[in-house]
Each structure stands twice: as C-alpha cells, then as structure tokens.
Amino acid sequence: MNSVIEVKNVSKAFGGVQANHDISLAVPEGKITGLIGPNGSGKTTLFNSIVGYHPIDSGSILYEGHEISDLRVPQIARLGMLRTFQQTRIYGNMNCVKNMLISVPHRKAAFMDMFRPYRAELTEKAENLLEFVGLYAKRRLKAGDLSFGQQKLLEFAMALMNEPTVLLLDEPTAGINPTLINGLIDRLKRANTEFGITLFIIEHNMRVIMNMADTVYCLAHGELLASGPPEEIQNDQRVIDAYLGAH
C-alpha cells in the first residue's frame, strides 16, 4: 500500500518541552487515518511539523516520496496537502462564496493568473460545495457572522474547494452540535470515498474516530504509544491508561 505521508523519526522540542520524540508513522493513500492522544500529547505539533509550520529538529517527512520537511507552509499546501485549524480560521470579512472562491487550488497558478476574473463554473462549484456542507442558504452572509460550528463546516468546504490530495483535520467535530456530528461524519466519509481525498484526523471524540478511521495512531507525552485498527486500539491497555492518566 502506498503511503502519502511518511513521518520518520521526527522530533521537535520547544525549549525544554519535548513535544514530539522520535515519531514514525505512515498515512496510506485513499484511507482515513486517525491520530488520538490526551491533551498536550503532541498531536497538533506533529500536524504543524508535517505542514511546514515550524522546522523539525530531526527526522524526515515524505509526501508522495519527496522530502518536504524543508518546505514552507504555502509550498506544501500547493503540493496538495492542506490542513484545517483547531481554532477555526476563515476570512471573517468576506462572504461564504468569496471564502470559497479564493480557496481554489493555487498549484498551477501562473503569475498572470492573479489578474483573472472568476469563471461562472467556479461560483457554481463553490455553491455546490456549500450545499454539500449545508451552508447554501448562508452563502451570501459574512463568514465572520456564522456560528463557530458553521465556520468549521465552511472551513471544511474551503478545504474541499482546494481539491487536496491529503487533508489534515485538527479536531473537526470540536464545538459542533452533537446532532450535527453524524452529518459531519457522513460528509467526511464522502469526501474520502467520493472525492478520493486521503484524510488524517486528530480527534478527541472516540465515537467519531473509531467509526471512521481505518488506522489509528495514539500519542502520549510526545511519543507514539500504539497504532493499529480501531478495535485493537480501543482495547489496548496502554491507550486506556494514557487517557485515564495512569501513564
């Protein structure tokens, strides 16, 4: 099986805090991979390392077989690897459709492309994706006026608009109304199956991640604790201890 992302022996420290220590994992192409672990176990740090937000101390990160640990955030994003933020980030003063339009892939954007107008098909695509996440009725509203959960959905739709190969989602269901979570799980799965996007998800909601992921990695204290299919992880004594604080 091809791995889209390969993390090899990655370490990252902030001052005296060893946020990630010697972590190795692989995200297989076309699958949904989960990343769990207690608060402060280094999940978001690992995400930030992968997308180039900060340099890593040692190790290597491969994307489709190419080293990317020395690239910067926008360059990695243009390769087709996108992330969403734990603290949702959207363009607050622009309406939803504009948020979507500016999220088109910038992979092949030549210099003069920035002076082109938007084609009507793009607006249509933007509206279809807003429909897909259930925000069609709010498409002309200022994104900053949406509720937190709606902003999360918008951020997800923006990511889809970018047609990524891999999407790294940092707690996609945090702050979302429990009744909406099922809908979101369904949409994430469809993004995976229908659009063929590989997903790598940080999630605290065990019901969500066990329901979706093909493989789950568990971090604790900055180190990789366990990995395997959801059933195995759920019953792994080390994982249970880590969550209950016995570690």
């Binding site: 926008p74 994003a77 069609y136």
Partner: protein, 353 residues
Amino acid sequence: MHVDRTPWYVYAAVLAAGILAPIVFPAYTTQIALLWLMILFALTWDILGGQMGYNSLGNIFFFGAGVYISAVVQIGIFTDVGAYTSARGGEQLVLGYFDYFGSLFAGMGAAAIGAALLAIVLGWVLLGLRGPYFAIGTLGLALSARELAGAWEWIGGGTGVPMPIYPGLPHEKSVVFYIAYFIMAIVTFLTVRWLYSTRFGLAINAIRDDEEKAEAMGIHTTRHKVVAWAVAAFFLGMSGAAFGNIIGYVEPQEVAFPTVTFGIFMVVMSLLGGKGTLWGPVIGATLFHIIKEATWTYMLGWQWVALGVLIVVNVVFFQQGILGWVQEKWPERFGLVVEEDPGEDQTAGAAAE
C-alpha cells in the same frame, strides 16, 4: 471580487465635475488639481491599508522617489545633473515645448516604473513585517529617504533642484497639470476597480482577514503583497513626477517627502471615507481637501487644530468612515446580504461533483 454597482450617472457627474471645475473656477485650477492628487493618494493607500490590511505610513516614499527620479531624468537628458545641481539654480533649464513635454513624459514614465521597482525590492523585505511593525518600518523608510535625499549632493542635497521652466504662461501650466492629475486619478481609480474585480482583489482581502490561513491554503501571499505595493508605487511615483514640475523646485522636506502632511493625509482620507471600499477613498479625499482648503482660508492659524480634531473624531467615534457607515446602515443597497437566502434548489443536494 467586488462587483461595482455604481450607477452610470455617478461616473458621468464625476467626469463632468472634473471637466467643468477648472473652467468655472479658473483661479482655483491648481487647488482642484491637488484634489485629484489627494484622490490618487487615498486610492493607492487603500490598496494596502484598506484592502490588504497593511497600514503603511511610508507610501509618501514612492511619491518622493518619483519626484527625484523624474527630476534627474528631465535634467539629465539635457545636461550633467551633478554640474546643474551644484550651480544652485544659477542655470535653470529653459526648454521649448517639444523638449519640455518630451522630457516630462520620459521623467514621468521613469518615475512610475522606478517607484514600482523600488516597491518590489523593498516589499520583499518590509512586507514580511506585520501589523504595527509594518507601519513603523514604512515610516522609517520615508523618514530615512528624506534624510538621505537631503544629504546627497548630486541631487542637490537640502537645497534641492530647480526644475525646467514651463515654456508657456502660468495659467496654461496649471491647466496642463490639472489635466495630468485628472487623468492620473481616473486611471488609478479604473485600475483599482479592475484589480478588485479579479482574483487579486479576493486574495488581498484574504490576506487582510487571516494571512496565516491564506498561506495554509497555498495562496502566493508574498507575490500578491509585492504586486499590491508596486501598483500603489507606480501611480504615486508618476504623481510625484508631476508634482515636482508644478512646484518648479524639488527639495526633500516640503516637496518630495512631506511625511507629516501628504504622508499622513493619505491615511486620514482613506479612513475618513471608509477604508476597504472602492469609493470611500474618493469621498474621503474630496471632503478632506475641501475642509483643508476652507480651514486654511477661514481659520488660518487654527488649521492644524481643526485637522487634528477631524482625525481624532474620525478615529475615535467613526472608524468605519463615511462609506463604511452608510454600508452598515443600508447594506442591501450595496449588495451585502444580511439575511439567509434559502435559494431555489435546496433539495437538489449532493450536487458536489
């Protein structure tokens, strides 16, 4: 992607006002020409300050660079610049119409392109600064340029450079430069209007709202920021070239780098009219210029106090500016929707291909 909903008669009225003003008020031709310059200032400042969220306090640098580039080109065509400036105005250039306008156009072109190139080079460095650091960094740029120009003997130092003498009558000169500023303001307006309708407009808005998110989405942020500044610098440089010729004398403090007057005016005018809007800077500049000219005439001695009060009231009570306030009050007139629109085919579903 701002759809310009301005009715045609607004454009017609502005055009008519621009053409009729110097005919109806011939004595005020230069003051009205400066109004068009103020509009150009506010429009170019707003590209970064309003649309991209980068508050520059040093855009006047590109104006001053234009003043000097044009002076050097206009004089350099006919004589040695160093010898000319060291004569301290002893041999001012007297040219015929053909030479005057030929060198003027060359100077304006060089000033526009030169200023844009300076913006590209400086932008790579300064546009890495965010928020207040960018504001202070650009202010430093303008102030240090002023000091450098004052110390550089080749371009006249603090004494400055006398510009070539206009070959015709004084009023004819006012009309010529009136037309120049009128056209420049229109071209600037049309350029930013077009820019804001392209992907570029949305991208710089995205940078304003959340630059880190824009980077994470793969937008070429540096490219957009540098181009935005270069566009502003292009028009500022060109307007500076004309300004040196209107005054007839180029020196760093009052003509080329008037940081505390023009440099601050451009910020104030955009804020007054409503930053981040197409017409806001135009409205702000017009109102500001009229208030300024009126206070200069009727409240001499108190004019700076009056302007200061205007700035304080604007910043403290009225941050969104005139057009911003109007847009908040009547959003639907500007195509800003505040209510949900269920649309016609909500049940079509799953249309995402």
